[in-house]
Symmetry: C2
DNA sequence: TATTTTTACCAAAGCGCTTTGAACGCCTAA
DNA sequence: TTAGGCGTTCAAAGCGCTTTGGTAAAAATA
């Protein structure tokens, strides 16, 4: 059933029915009620594409996951977009997804933008000096970056968590507990978030007069295996670090495995702090010992990013949003004073 | 730039330009070349919605993740859809995503179908007697189920892996190694895949004349924590099982933690087999000892499901696809003969 | 050379909606 | 009594494409 048929059935013009359904004022209450009822009764739903063509709005937001084959598809992503779904549904927006694949990432944006497929896009996993910013600016399509692109903080809308501050505080906590040699197992540092984290970590070491030693640092994949390998490597160094900071819960399982294998005790022989995105399948507080974390819900971030992009679309002239979320440092059992 | 403008620029009618661009035969080679070139030069992209309205095809497939709040958003999903992306891109299809959220799952399908938003949907995580089948049949929209809905194997298109056979073989392997008491840590058994797995496991036990003991079985969340809890519970039973089968790699990290904590040795004191969906962040072969698994790439399944739904859309009268993929049993270091 | 077929193009209709501009009836103010 | 205003409704245009049903010109056939 389409608008015309519904209108015919109601002895009304398509104009009036359309207006009634879309809440315009120039329809009598009585008519509106009648229209609403019959529309519901027939299960009428306006054709998405007709509406989109007529209004010029796609009522859709595009999400493009990095195509980089060297990286796994991010298991955080589903949580990120899950947070956004309700926001979009409430506004009648759809989510368009393109995950990995052969196609050039930037050309996906072009398809989306120039074909009018989406009204805006969300940029995930920004790198330092990410070329997508320029591409999107050229396309003149609204977008929000989850994270930031290196030092550049203006000129584009973003929501980020305070990765720098989080790892700065985490490192300071360890130093205050007496740790002098602290390892860092980080994500790929051409991702801005990982870069920020390293800088926060280094800053804290500098402030406390501790040396930065590349030997106890690593930058790589957020996998169990890499967590295991790097933990083992670092803890086997001659001058063994007494604490480790990890960029993700995904690394933790591997790290714990390595530590167990070396017959060390977490919280005593080696303190552990990891960043926790709030994923359900890997819970920091239920580990033994429970894990000290820098915590920030990626789900909530997803929801907020959705609100931001909708805001930009609704009012393009409004001030560009820049949100830097503080990150909780939750101290649990995996951190302790250094043993004499 | 739109079709009309491009046509005007070329001194051609929109008709001809449209045909040239879409590869229809009634255009001279020379004209086609000219059109292609200019279209590229101006970066012309046909308006998605206009095309969709005119053709009546949405050129989009809908993916709806279960809204069930008790379940975490599936970290497997991104891999599943990542596999599909290339297939869709090659056919000019988009992916529409709705993940979790407040909205009734079935009502999302209604929106998608009745509004013509998508041409077909993929059903994820089917339960026993899943109501979505009826809803989708009522909506008369093409769909493919990833998995099956209980015993029902006809009347809908599906692609499934042989969960029953996989766990049957895995259990037999353990029995053949001498294990008499084998634990099962399963996913929620109202999901069909988990149900099948339990049945395969029980079948093998029955065949070998071993007792099925609910005490050494569990059905629940696929999380590290649950893996830890259940492993601990089961291995602390008076008559301790000598082997464990796990429904997911996500459970493995927890299981290994529990086993380590109990000072048992994997492959000697307790054999371990887990199902591996091929997720990059949790690699079975790199664990120590390497893990014996039932393996099936969820990414490949995602790609194939994409092909199937496109096939159905292209030719609705073709025979309904039913694909049951065999599952590899990869024997590695975590399984060994039972110790005397 | 006359006729049919083929080739290459075009005008116009239509997809299902929104929106502009106009009309109609009724009420109020002058 | 008439002009203006307001509340409701409608006809028609338009969004940007595809597709149907043509028509000329060129090529093939008789």
């Amino acid at each position: 059933m389409n608008l015309k048929e519904l209108a015919a059935h109601l002895n009304l013009s398509p104009t009036t029915v359309s207006r009634a359904l879309n809440g315009y004022p120039e329809v009598s209450e009585e008519t509106r009620k009648r229209v609403d009822e019959e529309a519901r009764r027939f299960g009428y739903r306006p054709n998405t594409h007709a509406r989109r063509l007529a209004t010029g709005r796609a009522h859709a937001i595009g999400y493009v996951l990095p195509a980089d084959k060297s990286l796994m598809i991010d298991p955080l992503f589903s949580d990120f977009v899950a947070g956004a779904t309700d926001v979009y549904a409430a506004h009648g927006f759809d989510v368009m997804l393109h995950a990995g694949g052969q196609e050039e990432e930037t050309s996906v944006y072009q398809r989306y933008a120039q074909g009018g497929t989406v009204d805006g896009v969300v940029v995930l996993g920004p790198r330092l000096g990410d070329p997508r910013i320029d591409v999107l600016n050229g396309l003149k399509i609204p977008y929000v970056v989850h994270g930031r692109v290196g030092a550049l903080e203006g000129g584009y809308a973003w929501l980020d968590i305070d990765n720098y501050g989080a790892f700065h505080r985490a490192t300071k906590l360890l130093v205050d507990l007496g740790h002098q040699r602290i390892g860092l197992i980080n994500g790929y540092e051409d991702f801005n978030y990982a870069n920020e984290r390293r800088r926060g970590y280094e800053k804290a070491l500098n402030e406390r007069g501790l040396k930065i030693d590349p030997l106890v640092m690593s930058s790589g994949m957020m996998t169990e295996e890499n967590g295991f390998q790097q933990t083992k490597r670092i803890l086997q160094l001659a001058n063994r670090p007494t604490a480790l900071i990890l960029g993700s819960m995904l690394l933790v399982a591997g790290a714990m495995r390595a530590i167990n294998e070396m017959r060390l005790v977490i919280g005593r022989d080696v303190s552990l702090i990891a960043h926790d995105d709030g994923l359900a399948f890997l819970n920091a507080s239920s580990l033994v010992p429970s894990l000290t974390t820098t915590s920030s819900s990626i789900r909530l971030a997803g929801a907020r990013v959705a609100e931001l992009i909708l805001g930009i679309i609704t009012d393009p002239k409004a001030e560009q949003p820049h949100e830097l979320w503080p990150v909780d440092l939750i101290v649990r059992g995996s951190t302790g004073p250094v043993m004499p």
